[in-house]
Subunit: 338 residues, 2 copies
Amino acid sequence: MITIREVAERAQTSIATVSRVLNNLDGYSEQTKVKVLKAAEELGYESNAIARSMIIKKTNTIGVVFPNISSMITYEFLNGIEDVTYKNDFSVIVSYTYSQPERMMKALRTLYEKRVDGIIFTSDEVTDDYLNYLEKIDIPVVFLSTKSEKSTIPYVKVNDFAAAFDAVDYLIKNEHTNIGLIAGNPDDTIAGIPRIEGYKAALKKAGLPVREEFIRYGYDFSFNDGKSRFEDLINENPDITAVFAVSDEMASGAITAAHQMGIDIPGQISIMGYDNTMISEVAYPALTTLAQPLRKMGSEAVKLLIKMIKGDQFKEEVVLDHSVIERQSVKKRNKSES
Amino acid sequence: MITIREVAERAQTSIATVSRVLNNLDGYSEQTKVKVLKAAEELGYESNAIARSMIIKKTNTIGVVFPNISSMITYEFLNGIEDVTYKNDFSVIVSYTYSQPERMMKALRTLYEKRVDGIIFTSDEVTDDYLNYLEKIDIPVVFLSTKSEKSTIPYVKVNDFAAAFDAVDYLIKNEHTNIGLIAGNPDDTIAGIPRIEGYKAALKKAGLPVREEFIRYGYDFSFNDGKSRFEDLINENPDITAVFAVSDEMASGAITAAHQMGIDIPGQISIMGYDNTMISEVAYPALTTLAQPLRKMGSEAVKLLIKMIKGDQFKEEVVLDHSVIERQSVKKRNKSES
DNA sequence: GATATTAGGTTAAACGTTTACGTAAATGTA
DNA sequence: TACATTTACGTAAACGTTTAACCTAATATC
């Protein structure tokens, strides 16, 4: 492997000068610059980021940890992240942790060993163990689509409560009163509880009763989860006319179940999803859904992280806007608005 | 940041001994081992992989480059990759290149600068520029779902020709004779041409004519691509009874188009996909498709790469099995087989 | 003409490890 | 007892950079 030393030799100068030329600093004549560049070119020199990192104490690398969330969410996040890491000359190390604590801890430890400049922690519940470790290693961290009350680590999220509220509100505005909920795990403080509470709040605000039997709790936001919850929900509550599923995958599962049960969507029952991933377009009928700006969330998270890496110490919280995307899975009976 | 030196000081020994203890080598007494471990623990020492890499010349990191292929394919590949990198204590740097040459070259250069131990190059056409660079830097590389005739770099793939052949053969066995093809880009030597040729070969073998007007060429294997190709294809050829789309996303687009055109799937037209990503389950009717073992492809690729990194120089090619997954989008009229 | 400044370099230390080599003490062997 | 071997360390070099500190000659300033 060819080093700065060999370049210096060939250019008949010192390694310090070579370093300066290569880093566009000053302190050399045009003549030596040319000699150095020529020598580097001829030798096919490529700088060694490891050696460089060793002394500047920056790796220009960030780490991203994902639990086992939906493929499409992961993809959108990652694309948003790469959009800005690319522009800022950062590399990204990704780890899937499948929400397993040992795997998560190992991932964090490895990221620290490799001296990443910052970490994006996505979508997973933040346990005390994680938090303690993150605080101990003391490198910039931002939470993406999660947060922790116990720390001042900044986050990028949508407001899950408000988003669920708006989704249900949209159904109510379209004259639905018997609205079922296919929820996340009721122990999940991030994507579980807030959406359940948003659902309840929307009903209450409209003066509708909150009926526990209209709520089914899922576990992993998956297609199959949504499918079986839907069957169960509708079999036991034939009077439901709309259901809000807290992920697009669940909503797609519900649609497939409906097809199999001979239920017309949206003729008999309207279904609303959450996320606005690609799946909502592929489903038939196409899913009306509550959109999170996933890609933007990814890019905002890195922007924030890079700011922190560059030294800005003030810590912001970013709450991005959500919106309802109307497609074909909800019957529109909205009389009051345009 | 706390170093081996400080640990040595606190344990009243030398840095060499500390290093030996921490790396489980021998050459120290039980007593000093305890002292060192205790000191390290108390100081919260965590080793610095950068400094380590500097001298051992290994980073335990690999790079993976993705073009802009389907989110679900990317996800499956990455999961397969992580399954085995995790077990082997490697980290993975991922770069999305969106098939842009400058971005690709920059990604490769960065990976080399950061001295990754190996590279997995996925799904993209291998240009001479890429190949030259890969050969120049001389680190282990494996191609995943792509290959190059011009080099001996090993690859992990399915046989696209045979897979497409089998898909079309399946349609023929189910008594379809007028079979349309929604193909990839006819300039794409990886996922384009071989699948087109497989389609043609299956027809020929069955004594069916190859009719150019039954073939539509897409560009990016996307949902919208499949949707508009299908509309076009069926409008101009009402006698078609089955269509093979060379990606699940395209096939889903075709299904959606069919719904909008009032065509019953599979009653009037059967549709077959390719990939067996999650989308094929979500589509309605669920897609009968040609399955690639995506996750396994990812894990086999890293296994091979790690073998090469560890020093095995013989280069294997891995061609994994494909299969037809029967769901509901193809009308079964198979009289001859069970 | 004397001094200060600048341009254009060089030398060497530093980053945090691993490891080859040296050596003194402990242990084994004849 | 004498010698050989092994154990348990310590010292220092090395990895490939960046950069502070230093140097010299040329130019500018008065």
